[in-house]
Each structure stands twice: as structure tokens, then as C-alpha cells.
Symmetry: none
Subunit: 214 residues, 4 copies
């Protein structure tokens, strides 16, 4: 009797599942072979569907990449709420900023590995990534730095450059992971230690402060 109870609901769920499965497969194959090196056949096999089926869910190959991209966007949006709830305390602010992003990368590492090379090489995607991820985060950092300077918590540094330095630090770590550096492969403990190192760096620097310094 349950023949057509919620045809759209169940079907919708099925469709979503398929989409996600295909995206998972795409992420995995893109990571292994790069976007151009990955064929639709590869992805179809990884997703255990026929070639043609992919085109029922995505307009074309590029849409798979954008699909992965959008996944990150969706998730980032959620996380950002947390991130933007910045603390009064400077340490908490730094730890919040980097902690959220490091966790984000950790959770979606496969997708990042798949996307980043393409982001760097494809003008279209480059702009999209910059607009979606980089610019907002730079803005957040810049605003925070500006505010902290006004509040006298930070020195008088070039806000724009400082924000870039902060973001570069984060992005560079991500790249180092992609490059295979074994000392900082993503894990909760590694990230915790890193957070500590970074926090110390940003706020106090590494040099032994001479008495009466600055």
C-alpha cells in the first residue's frame, strides 16, 4: 500500500545520495590523478555507476569540480558562524581563527587536495575561490586586526599585509600537507600543537625578549 506515499521525498533522498556518492568518487579520483587526468569513466567506476549516469546529476565534468567546490562553501558557511564569534581575548581569537580553519581542512582534506591545484591553475576557479574563501577570510582577519589595534591589543602594523600574512600562513600549511610533508599531516594532535606554535608566534614572536624590549 506504500506504493506512492512520498514519491518525491524518498526519490529526493535517493537523488541526493547518488549525487554525494558521485562527488565522493570525483574527489577521490581528482586527488589521485588531478582534474584533467581523471576521466569520467574513472569516476563512474569509482562511484559504481555507468558513465552516462553521471550526466543525470551533473551537466558536465566541470560541474563535478564546482560541485565539490560548493560542498566546501556550504560547510564553510556553517563553520564561519563559529569562527566569527570572536573572543575578546586575543589568544582565543587566534585559536578560534586558525582552529576553525584547520579543523575544516582536516574534515574535508580530500576535497581540498582535489580542488586546490585546479584553483591555482584555472582562472575561473581561481577567481571563484578567491571571492568565496580568500577575500572573506582576509576581510575577517583585517577587521579583527583593525579592531584589536584600535583597542590597543595589537601594535600599529599594516592591517592589510598582516591579514595576508595570517592567511598565507594558513594556506601555506595546507599546501605543505598536500606536498606530502610528513611532519604536519592533518590530525587532531598535530593541529593542536600547531595552533599553539602559531598563537605564540603571532602574539609574542619567537625571539627571547630582552628585558625592556620594544
Amino acid at each position: 500500500m506504500d506504493d506512492q506515499p512520498k514519491p518525491s521525498a524518498r526519490r529526493q533522498r535517493h537523488i541526493t545520495q547518488r549525487r554525494e556518492a558521485i562527488l565522493d568518487a570525483a574527489a577521490s579520483v581528482f586527488t589521485a590523478k588531478g582534474y584533467s587526468g581523471a576521466s569520467i569513466k574513472d569516476i563512474a567506476e569509482a562511484a559504481d555507476v555507468a558513465d552516462g549516469t553521471i550526466y543525470n546529476y551533473f551537466a558536465n565534468k566541470e560541474a563535478l569540480l564546482l560541485g565539490l567546490f560548493d560542498r566546501l562553501v556550504d560547510l564553510e558557511r556553517v563553520d564561519n558562524r563559529v569562527a566569527s564569534a570572536a573572543a575578546d581575548n586575543l589568544d582565543d581569537a587566534v585559536i578560534g581563527y586558525f582552529g576553525v580553519h584547520l579543523a575544516h581542512v582536516r574534515a574535508h582534506y580530500d576535497v581540498f587536495r582535489a580542488i586546490i591545484p585546479e584553483v591555482l591553475s584555472t582562472p575561473d576557479l581561481r577567481q571563484r575561490y578567491y571571492g568565496t574563501f580568500v577575500a572573506p577570510l582576509l576581510a575577517v582577519a583585517e577587521a579583527q586586526i583593525h579592531a584589536r589595534i584600535s583597542q590597543g591589543q595589537l601594535r600599529q602594523i599594516d592591517e592589510q599585509q598582516a591579514a595576508r600574512v595570517v592567511y598565507a600562513l594558513f594556506f601555506g600549511l595546507l599546501c605543505l600537507r598536500v606536498l606530502g610533508d610528513e611532519a604536519i599531516q592533518p590530525s587532531e594532535s598535530t593541529d593542536a600543537a600547531l595552533l599553539n606554535t602559531i598563537n605564540h608566534l603571532l602574539l609574542r614572536g619567537w625571539s627571547v625578549s630582552e628585558p625592556g624590549d620594544d
Copy 2:
């Protein structure tokens, strides 16, 4: 009497010039379209030669990429001598390390833009780049940090992680440039300002040091 003393000398020079011209074209096209997106036809047109001519100078498309790579290696080697001549003074050391690398990137920016996406996506190249550029520079940084800690110039920080953080900062800046961030496009003045910001950061941190801090 000098009628035929350098038949090969002139020819050799010609060959080298052609090679370089083709590599220049390749760098430019790779940057614009990515390695996979660039066709030999594109590169040939950019170099103003016929398709087949490229194969008189390079075994295949991949050899173009490796040719670009080797260019960096050759040049880096020269620069490294300077880099390794580290100063006693902490500020000079930081400025030396980053200054040399930023200058290197500035000088060969086109090649970096062309290569980095491939480095991140191609396992082969990834290893090659890591072994040639990343590992040595990490080692230099680590050794310096270790020495400075021993000498009491730096705090007791995790040397391994600190070195990664320093390199990530550098690499992240490079990526931000590739991503098109306008605030830090490579130029002598930008780099000089950056150097200052970074130096301050690494050695003294950004927070306003409260009296009796740490």
C-alpha cells in the same frame, strides 16, 4: 682566418636561444591555461614556431614542464649560496631567508605560476619539488632555529613545526599571489614592506607586550 672557428658555437647559441624561447612560451601558456589545458599547438604559436619544432628541443610535453623546473633549480642553486650566508643578527637572518626567496619568486614569477599547480597535483613532480626545494629549505630553517635556540636567541619552540610555519608563510604568500590577491603582487616595494612585517612578526609578535609579559 676566423672563417670556421665557431660553427658550432654560433649554432649552439642559437639552439639555446630557441630552447629558452620555447620554455618562455610554455611558461606563459601553462600559466594561462594550466599544464593540461595547454596544447602543444598553443605553445608553438606562442613561441612562433611550428608544432613539430618543439619536438626538436623537447622530447615531449612533460619535458617542457621539467625544463621549466630545471630552470628554477639552476637559479635557486646560485641564490642559495647567498641565503646560506646567514647573519649573526636575528633580524638579518630572517630578512636574509625571506628576502632571498621573495626575490627569487619575483624574478621567476612566471615559472612559479606555471609550475606550482602541477607540483601540487602531480605525484611525480610533487616529490621532485619537495625534494629539491622544500626539504632543503626546511632543513636550513630548522638548523637555524636550532642554533638560535641553543644560543639563547630564540625561545624553546618546537624546531620542526616552527620551520614548517616559516616555510608555510613563504609558500602561502606565493600562493596568494598566484590567486591574484592584488595587495601583495610581487614588486620590490611590496616585498620590502612584507619583509618588515614578517620580521616583526617572527621575532616580536604582534601583540602589544604588556609589561613583565611572558
Copy 3:
């Protein structure tokens, strides 16, 4: 009720048909232009499919040649059973040996014409052909000659050389056909006459027997 019992059966048959059609086209084009002279485009046109379709059935151009080769192997195997059923009678043995092979060539003449030039020029294929066709047939001939000599049916001739002579006779006729000699183009009647001539030759020679002979 038989709605979906042979979804793969029909498809399988279709695939086999396509494969055979493409092989037929390849045989025809190879014969006309030689293996190297034949382009995939030529073959695709002859088979009335698109270029790419051929690669859905054969890994590469060489596989077409090997496909033709394997066809002969399959068929030869069947025929060989007959061939090895050698008669007591000498005449029957000769007629059996040559009859079977001449019939085989007649039936697959196109394939032979396509393959033989390549067999003679390509080391790989040469070995393959020699191992698959020549060596076994030489062995059969040698064994037969040996046995017949033991039984006193044949003179004391060099078995090894005699077997080669017999095979050479057969192969040479095949080549003469390929070369276009009109007097012996394959047909049942030509082959029958040839058989007779050969049989006479091998067993009794052509010279007029001295008095008392025959």
C-alpha cells in the same frame, strides 16, 4: 515471460558481430595497403563506424592484426584434427596434408593476404607465426616422413630438410597467390589439380621412369 532473460546474450552477440565486422574491414584494408599503410580512419570507414568505435573493441592498431591472427589460430585448430588423422596410404597422406592446408588458405585467403607480409617483416609476429603455424606443421611433416621411412614407404631422405621442402612448397604457393599469379588463384578446382600435381611430384617425381619402372 522471456522479457529480460537475455539482455546480455543479445548484447554479447552484437559485440561479437561488431568485432568481426571490424576485423573483416581490417583484413580488407591491410590487404589493399599493407598494415602500416592502412590508417585507422581507413579501417573505420571500411567498417562503417567512427574512428573511436574501433577502440571500444580493440586496444590499438596492433590488436587488430593480432585479432586477425587469432582468428586463423582458432580455425586452424579445428582443421588440424582432420589433418592429423593421417592415412596409411601414402597418397592419402600427402593429399590430406596439402588438401587441408590449401582448403584452409582458400577459406581465409583474405586474412592470409593481410597477415603474411607483416609476419615476414615484424620480428614479434614472425616468431608468433612460426611457433603457431610453421613449427607444428614442420613437426607433423617430419614425424610422418620419419614414420614412412621406417615403414619402408619412403626413401632414406634427410627428414628435416624434406619437411622443410614440403612446407616451403605449400608456403611458396600461398605467396605466389598473394603475388597475384593468375594461374593458381585459389579455387576448388585449381587446388584439386594442384594436389594431384604435388602428389605425383612428391611420390614419384617428374622424370620419365627408366624402363621397368612404375
Copy 4:
């Protein structure tokens, strides 16, 4: 003082030498890689000249093949005089016919190996070879057989077919050699033994003659 004595004579000799050297190289490379598989560069290297030089002596690649071909023709012509000086004696006639041809093949084996696959696969060359070598030799054989039958030396056999059988025997042996059969690789002793076997076969057959024979 010998500055320009016989400019044309010496030069002519030089030119001929170069031509021959290039043809030698071509024969060797064709044999090793087949006509299509051999590149002009390969041949130029084997002949120790530049690519372009070849075109000073031959119009194009095909002309190299025809050049090899013509070499055989020239030589065959000489040999044929001997061959056509047929003996009264049947044995001598057979031995003359096959002996000359086997020797010819032995002397120019490389050229035969290089040419035969192309002869079998290229319509043009096929006709040329047939007209130049096969037809005349078939005619000689046919004429001889005809004459011998008239003279009562040979039985009443089909002259046309018999001639084909004789030629096929010869050509088949050549092919067996090209195919790599080790038992009959060309050498003076092998050929001598073969001659004997063939002579016996053609004239007396291999079966044990009934009482009163031989």
C-alpha cells in the same frame, strides 16, 4: 697538379659509392624495422650522413626501396645468363636452376629480407616484382618443362602448374629463411644439401620405387 684531371670520373665514383653506402644502410635498417618502421633519420645515421644528404641521391624514401630492387635486377640479369645455359642432362638443369637462385639469395640475403615483405604488401611493388622476377623465371621453367616433355625426359604433366610448383618451392624456402627457421639458414653447405634433396624430389620422388626401379 692533379687538381682537376678527371673531375667527373672521380666524382662519379664518389657519387656511386655514396649511393651504394646509403642503399646498404637502407637494406640493413629495412630488414631490422621494416620499410615503414624505418625512418630516414635511421638510415642516415646508419649511412653516417645527414638526413638531407639522402635526398641528394634519392628522390624520396620509396626510391630507396626501388633502388634496392634495381640492385637485385642488375645482379639477377648477370646470373640469369648462367641459369639459362641449361644443360642437356635433367639433373644438371634442375641443379642449375635452383643452384643459381639459391646462390643469388645467399649473396643478397639482406636485400631480399628487406624487400620481400614490402613486395608482398605493396600492390605497386608486387606487380613490379612479379613482372621482373617471377614471370620470367616461371617462363624459363615452363619452357624447360615443355621442352623436356617434348624430348621425352619428363612425364606429361601440366607445364603451367609444374612451373609454379617449382618456383613456389624456391620462394617458399626463401620465406622459411626469412621466418627464421634454423635448419635452413643460408650457407653454402645447407644449399648444397638442399639442392640434392630437391633434385631427387623433382626427378624421382620420394616414395620407394617398386621393384626394378632406379
